[in-house]
Every structure is written in structure tokens, then in C-alpha cells.
Symmetry: C2
Subunit: 336 residues, 2 copies
């Protein structure tokens, strides 16, 4: 298929999902259809992620589709960390070992097309808002529990970054100052209850106590082995302790969502990420219940809870669409 | 002075602060200078607040200033409750006994000028943003601890209401699900820690235990008597237990503010209301410390904590300026 594809100059979009372990470039045509995908490991033999690695992956993606770089209109990059979008700089992405990487400038020089960089969860939220589960919800809160718990905000139809561009950190909302230790060094953040790491921590202890036989058999008691799919399978196999653990995590996620509903009055709360994909009904039920019970009726009554549908493509899709939108906005600004 | 005042047709503004016990109409000229003020009790002999009472107070204010109603451009009303601004309806203001009051329509009919209604804390925040302590902070979170704890948001330079118009309810952010009972029926909301009622509850117990002699002497142990000024005086007189209680309340307010900073990345947090006015340094110190310690450095580093300066005029000022701004926006919309 790919070799028959002809793309007009300045019409294609690359959405790039730069994860801590894997990276993926997706090429879209002007109607936002996927033309090609290219995956690679994020880290080289030395455990580093040089920008050249992103360039190579994008070039390979274009090559596979037999598309010239000049066919591109824009490239959007989603990064797991704090991003200064206005300056095009990744302030900090600890899992990549990145600090103050001027990624926009470097990529623009290498590719010769406009590049936009944003936080990956923000772009996942934006992708679901534009073409996924959250279409038309102009006031939207996205929550993505994974290794951490990321958040994204659409306010008045626009991706919201606040004064620094880095808004949306719902994962570090403190829900109980006497709660468990969080990766950020504080206690009782949402992430310390509802991330995959937090759930794996509790589930491993249950397995060790003999209360989660199915999980014990599949994963042992090593946190590293306890992934979203295994957690879901353990619950299906009847590990009640694991179900209790995950429901509690989902409830805490719901409390954080309820707090955000009271503060922001969104139309919808979007849930996504590996854990939610593995157990969509459990998460959306608990979050919906928590919002109904914990937020103000006038604010919560009409809030929809939706589950992400773009899966692994969410960030890349959001990145491509957001890059296109930013380019359009910039052009309009110049006109006026 | 007032009788010499001449106001051109369609230039004046009325800002109205409808409180649970007192109401106040303030007449501003086109340069936003105060021309006259009229105060009244909010409730009539039957404990009711009919809309006619607002009309009378506004008319008296105009009469005192010898200004004709036709000199008015707009009237803005601040109400202690949930407001549907788009429809001009007070959904619920429990302290006034109001439910679904179509205040805009009623007042427009009575006064013959455009009327805008909004939540009082939103307008207090807007007033401080336009002409008070928070000038130029286009991303602003206002927190006003009082009988309850109200909040207001300025995002991208506009008063933010979210999808229902009722955003900003930071007072019901749950900080500890095992915390004290809140007036809303849930446990551990910010309001259950940091409202005047919550502080009075703790302080009265300290007084009863003999740990707050100055407070005991001035107020006894009746919560009703323990107002903001008395709390401040008790601390000044050396009631260490009361200082501990208020500092803890301020710290919890800081935790809620830090959570909101992580979510919204504002430029500034504005503190106002009776408690803060009585103890500005204590509150701003504790809130600033909490934000520095509890929020993400990248988001909190540049956040300013400011204390409201408009005092009793904040809501009326915000109401007048907001009504003018809404009118201007409406006219522009019609043009385009």
C-alpha cells in the first residue's frame, strides 16, 4: 500500500510519541488518516536518547511510506516530562535523562519543517478531544494513570497550560498528608495511590501474604513484573484482594477527579492509559461514583466519565493534530 | 458633595454586594470612582430577602447621589451562592433562602438597565484582578476564607466558570477523607479546616480547656461570638493554642492552594476575606510556605501570594467592573 502513496507538498503530519522505553512516529495525511508507523526503542546501547534517534525514526517512517520530508506540514512531539511549549524546550524528562533540551530547534534544523513539543499526557488528552472519546467536550479533564498519574486540561476548547505551560499535574494533588510516600518526595499524592507502581506495591504485598494466588502464580512478588494486564487477569481469576486494591486506587482517582470537578466544572472526565485500558469498567464505575458522591451536585450532575479510545495512538494523534492547530493559529495571528 | 454630582446618561455603574446579613450598593462613575454607597440589612422583618429590597437599596443609593436611573450603564450583583450567569439566575443561595431566583430579569424590569449576576467570591477575585492586589495576574486563583471558603478563578485574563459557570469551589476540595465533618455533608474538605466556623470550633474547645485565656475572656466558648477580629486579638494577647489552630488552618489552605497550583499553574494566589484581613501575614506566610513545599518547583517557583486590598468594597467593585466588561463584550459580539 505505502509505495503507491503520493503526498502533496506541505500536507502531511508527523505525530511522535516519545516514551520512556519506546518511541513511535506516525505519519498522517491531510485528512488525518494514518499512512505509516515506525517504532523504535527510546534508548540506544548506552541508555541514552539523543535527538538524532528521533530524527532517524521519523526519517525511517517517511522512507517506509515513500514520502519526502518536504511533504510534511508539521511535526508534533509528545514528551514524558515538563515542557516549555512557548520556547520549544523540554525542561525536564527524568525517564529520558533530559534536562533543558532545545528539541524544537534541533528537530526543525534536522527536518526542515515546523516542530511543536508538548507534554505527552496533554497531547493524549488533546487527541481524544479532537478525534477520540472526548470529542466536543470543550471543558475536559484527562487523567492517565500509568507509571505515574498524568493529567491534561482542555478549557474553553483549548489545551490549557496555565502561566508556565505546565498545568495539569493532577497526579500530585495531595489527598492525605499522612498517606503513602510519593515519588515526588511528598506524602499522599494521588500518584502514591493510583499509579501502576502504587497498585503493584499493594498487590505484591497481597501476593506475598498468600491473598492473591493467581497474581503470585503469574508474576511472583516482584513489582517489576506486575503490569496492567497481569493485574486485570488476577482480578478475573478471582484474586479478591487485588480487586479491592485496584478499586481503592480508582476511588482515590475519583476523589481527585471530584476535587477538580469542584474547581473547574468540566463537562467530562476522560480516563486513559494502560491500567484503564486493562480494566475500563472498574475504573469508570469507581470514578463516576466518586464524582457523584464527592463533588457538588450542581457541578457533578452533568459530568460525563469517558474512557479513551485511541489506545497506543493517542499521543501521536494528539501531537499531529496539535502541531497542525498551532501552525494554523500562528498563521492567523500573523494575518491580523 | 453628592448633590453637586452630575452624571451623563448611560455612564454610571452600580456594584451590588448581596451578603447573607448585609447588602451594599455602590455607585461608580465612568472612571470607576465611588460616588455613593448605600447599606442595608439583607433580611426584612420576616427574615426574607425579596428582590424588591435590592431595588430599594439601589434606588436609595441613586437618590443620595442625586443621580437618575437613566444615568446608569449597567448593574452587577454579587450573590453568595451558585449562579447560572448565562441565564441570569441564582440557582441556590442557602443563606438567603433563595432557589432559582430569576434576578436578572426582575432587576432589569425594575431598573430599566442591563443587569449581570455572578457569585460574590468570583466578583471579589475579579475586582482584585482589575483594580486591587492582583492586577495583571492573568492566571489567578482567589481564595476567600470566611463563614465558608470561597474561590474564584481568572484564567487567561477572564473570569472562569467552566461548563456550568460555577467553577471555583476550592472550599470543597477534599484534603483528607478521614478529616472533620464539613457543612456539605462530606469529610475533610478545605472548608472543614480553614473556614471561620472551623477555626472557631477548635478555638472554643481550646478556650474551654483553659488553653486560650484571652479568647475565653473576650468571647467565652460560644462559637457565634468568635469572629475574625477576636481570633486575631487572642493571638496577639498570647493565646498560643489559638495561634497553632489558625496556623494549621492556614497550612491546610496552603495545601489546597498547592494542589490547585499543580493543576492550573497560576501566576498568583490571592487571599482575601475577614480572616485574612485580620491576620494577613500569618495567612500569606503559611500559604506561601505550603505552596513552596507541596507544589512542583517548576510550577510553584514563580507563584506570588498576594493579600486582597479592596476590603469591604471588593465584591461591589468587581460586580460593577464585571457588568461593564460583560456589556462591552456583548456589544462587540453583536458587531462581529
Amino acid at each position: 500500500m505505502a509505495e503507491e502513496y503520493a503526498m502533496d507538498k506541505g500536507t502531511g503530519l508527523i505525530g511522535f510519541d516519545l516514551g520512556a522505553t519506546k518511541m513511535m512516529a506516525v505519519l498522517f495525511d491531510e485528512d488525518h488518516r494514518v499512512v505509516a508507523r515506525e517504532k523504535a526503542r527510546s534508548k540506544d546501547g548506552n541508555g541514552k536518547t539523543p535527538v538524532s534517534r528521533l530524527v532517524e525514526t521519523i526519517e525511517q517512517c517517511l522512507k517506509d511510506a515513500e514520502v519526502e520530508p518536504k511533504a510534511l506540514k508539521a511535526v508534533g512531539i509528545g514528551v514524558p516530562g515538563a515542557v516549555d511549549r512557548a520556547r520549544g524546550v523540554v525542561i525536564s524528562a527524568p525517564n529520558l535523562g533530559w534536562e533543558n533540551v532545545e528539541i524544537e530547534e534541533k528537530l526543525e534544523k534536522a527536518l526542515g519543517v515546523p516542530v511543536i513539543v508538548e507534554n505527552d499526557v496533554n497531547l493524549g488528552t488533546y487527541g481524544e478531544y479532537r478525534v477520540g472519546a472526548a470529542r466536543k467536550f470543550d471543558h475536559l479533564l484527562g487523567i492517565f494513570p500509568g507509571t505515574g498519574v498524568g493529567g491534561g486540561l482542555i478549557l474553553d476548547g483549548r489545551l490549557y497550560g496555565g502561566s508556565t505551560g505546565m498545568a495539569g499535574e493532577i497526579g500530585h494533588m495531595i489527598l492525605d498528608r499522612h498517606g503513602p510516600l510519593c515519588g515526588c518526595g511528598r506524602y499522599g499524592c494521588l500518584e502514591a495511590y493510583a499509579s501502576r507502581v502504587a497498585i503493584a506495591r499493594e498487590a505484591a504485598a497481597a501476593a506475598l501474604r498468600g491473598q492473591a494466588p493467581a497474581l503470585l502464580e503469574e508474576c511472583g512478588t516482584d513489582l517489576t513484573n506486575i503490569k496492567s494486564g497481569a493485574i486485570a487477569r488476577s482480578i478475573k481469576s478471582g484474586d479478591e484482594a487485588v480487586e479491592k486494591i485496584v478499586r481503592r486506587a480508582a476511588r482515590m482517582l475519583g476523589v481527585a477527579a471530584a476535587n477538580a470537578v469542584n474547581l473547574l466544572s468540566p463537562e467530562a472526565v476522560l480516563l486513559g492509559g494502560g491500567l484503564v485500558e486493562a480494566m475500563p469498567a472498574l475504573f469508570s464505575d469507581e470514578v463516576e461514583k466518586a464524582i457523584r458522591n464527592q463533588a457538588f451536585p450542581a457541578l457533578s450532575r452533568s459530568v460525563k466519565v469517558v474512557v479513551a479510545t485511541l489506545g497506543d495512538d493517542a499521543v501521536a494523534t494528539g501531537a499531529a493534530l496539535f502541531a497542525e492547530e498551532m501552525l494554523r493559529a500562528k498563521k492567523e495571528e500573523k494575518k491580523s
